[in-house]
């Protein structure tokens, strides 16, 4: 950190900082409101300007422009957050759960009736949706100590609705299967 101090000292920022903080503690209203800035004067008083093309600072502008599309994840050795890229294409299981445009697993919680009814929804299912429903139901029944669980399958829109809040359980299960 000492070197960064040196860097700051080199650019005069340290000195400026000291000046600024001193003036702030003595003059409270200074520089803290746009009302304290001067009104526009006649144009002759201002310095002349010129447009600079391909300026060295343009890279700082480019950094501020947002990407047009969602960036693709880069392959890494490990992902500390627990997120992981999709690995399976569903050829061995017969079904496929596509990722969302934000590269997340499409498992959601729908709450209705002021939070009284909680339904876990798995979306973007392709292929044999009934096989997936059977697998997911086994996972949920294990999570609730062998008690039965109610499900509903919408084959056309590729969605499975599961009674109860099992979002974390199902998301982890799907991630473990590579989806």
């Amino acid at each position: 950190m000492a070197a960064s101090t040196k860097l700051l000292l080199g650019s005069g920022l340290c000195h400026r900082l000291a000046q600024l903080t001193r003036s702030l503690h003595t003059q409270p209203a200074q520089l803290s409101s746009f009302r304290s800035s001067k009104e526009v004067q006649s144009l002759e008083q201002y310095p002349e300007v010129e447009p600079v093309e391909s300026a060295a600072a343009w890279k700082f502008v480019e950094r501020l422009l947002p990407p047009q599309t969602v960036p693709r994840p880069v392959a890494k050795t490990d992902y500390p957050s627990g997120w992981q890229p999709q690995k399976s294409d569903g050829s061995e299981s017969g079904y496929f759960v596509a990722r969302t445009k934000n590269h997340m697993v499409p498992v959601y919680l729908h709450t209705r009736f002021r939070g009284q009814r909680r339904i876990t929804v798995v979306r973007r299912v392709q292929g044999d949706i009934w096989a997936l429903e059977k697998d997911l139901r086994a996972v949920v029944e294990q999570a609730r100590n062998g008690k039965l669980c109610a499900t509903r399958v919408n084959e056309l829109s590729g969605q499975i609705h599961i009674h109860g809040d099992y979002v974390d359980v199902l998301r982890e299960h799907l991630k473990a299967k590579g989806f």
């Binding site: 860097l7 700082f60 994840p73 992902y79």
Partner: protein
């Protein structure tokens, strides 16, 4: 994945044998449209759930807190100080270290550059509303143990554990104040550049925020850099980790990059005008 899309293929196959779908033979699903008319008298008229007589039937919804003639609860006590000035208080919407790590893992944030409000807003997953008294982001300690990124981040509020989590990985954290106008510029920089206005100076913090941002313990942007480097060591000893030497780091230039206290954007000086269409910067003539 073609072999897995049997259902949609079947539906499309069925559709090919059916007459052409056009506006003339389409109709809404049964019961999908709700009639917003309330019939009267013989046209299906009854109470319609509004009950008999009184403000219920007349749908005379009373104003909030009105107790039909009683002295209302909110006026019963002459002095309620808890919410005094609540509409003036600065809000700092939270982002957790876990969220930040997810953004990094999914390539929404480039950690090879310094991270500030504009980087977070440009990810498209976070937004800031300066008009609703939101003065920037606070970094919270959820997912602190799994945070592994080496970043140079600037937030508006962070507690001690978060600072330690960032510095343990060889990163740099700074807390900085932005006035609402600068926040507006940072939250959507492209849109602001399109206005074609010179970049203004960033304002200094108000008096009640000054102590926070001049304190080295908070890594304030107005604190003495020497005190900050001392406090980095103190924190490392307190939390029991070896402080990585950022001076020896190959990305030292990125890690030590800092804005001037009067500067809004990295590398762009106040007074410059950015032309996004022509890709030029309008500067003072030398």
């Amino acid at each position: 994945m073609a072999h897995l899309r049997e259902t949609s293929d079947k539906a499309l196959k069925l559709l090919r044998t059916l007459p052409r779908v056009q506006i003339g033979n389409l109709r809404p699903n049964p019961n999908s449209k709700q009639n917003d008319k309330r019939g009267r008298a013989q046209h299906g008229g009854d109470k319609h759930g509004a009950g008999n007589k009184g403000s219920g039937q007349r749908q005379n919804f009373m104003r909030l807190g009105y107790e039909t003639g009683n002295q209302p609860f909110y006026m019963r006590f002459p002095y309620e100080p808890y919410y005094k000035g609540h509409h003036m208080k600065r809000q700092y919407p939270p982002i957790s270290l876990l969220q930040l790590q997810v953004l990094i893992d999914t390539n929404r944030i480039d950690v090879s550059q310094p991270v500030d409000i504009s980087t977070l807003c440009n990810s498209g997953l976070l937004n800031l509303k300066p008009a609703e008294m939101e003065y920037g982001f606070q970094l919270t300690d959820e997912g602190l143990d799994n945070f592994k990124a080496k970043i140079n981040i600037e937030v508006q509020y962070a507690n001690e554990a978060v600072i330690a989590a960032i510095e343990r990985n060889g990163g740099v954290i700074r807390t900085a104040y932005y006035d609402p106008r600068s926040l507006h510029m940072l939250s959507n920089a492209k849109k602001w550049f399109e206005k074609g206005v010179p970049i203004p100076n960033r304002m200094m913090p108000p008096q009640d925020a000054l102590d926070y941002y001049t304190d080295a313990k908070n890594r304030g942007y107005l604190a003495n850099p020497e005190e900050i480097s001392k406090d980095r060591l103190v924190l490392a000893q307190k939390y029991g980790y070896q402080l990585p030497r950022i001076e020896d780091d190959p990305s030292f230039a990125m890690l030590s990059a800092a804005k001037d206290p009067r500067q809004v954007f990295y590398g762009l000086e106040p007074g410059w005008l950015i032309n996004v269409v022509d890709k030029t910067i309008v500067k003072r003539k030398k």
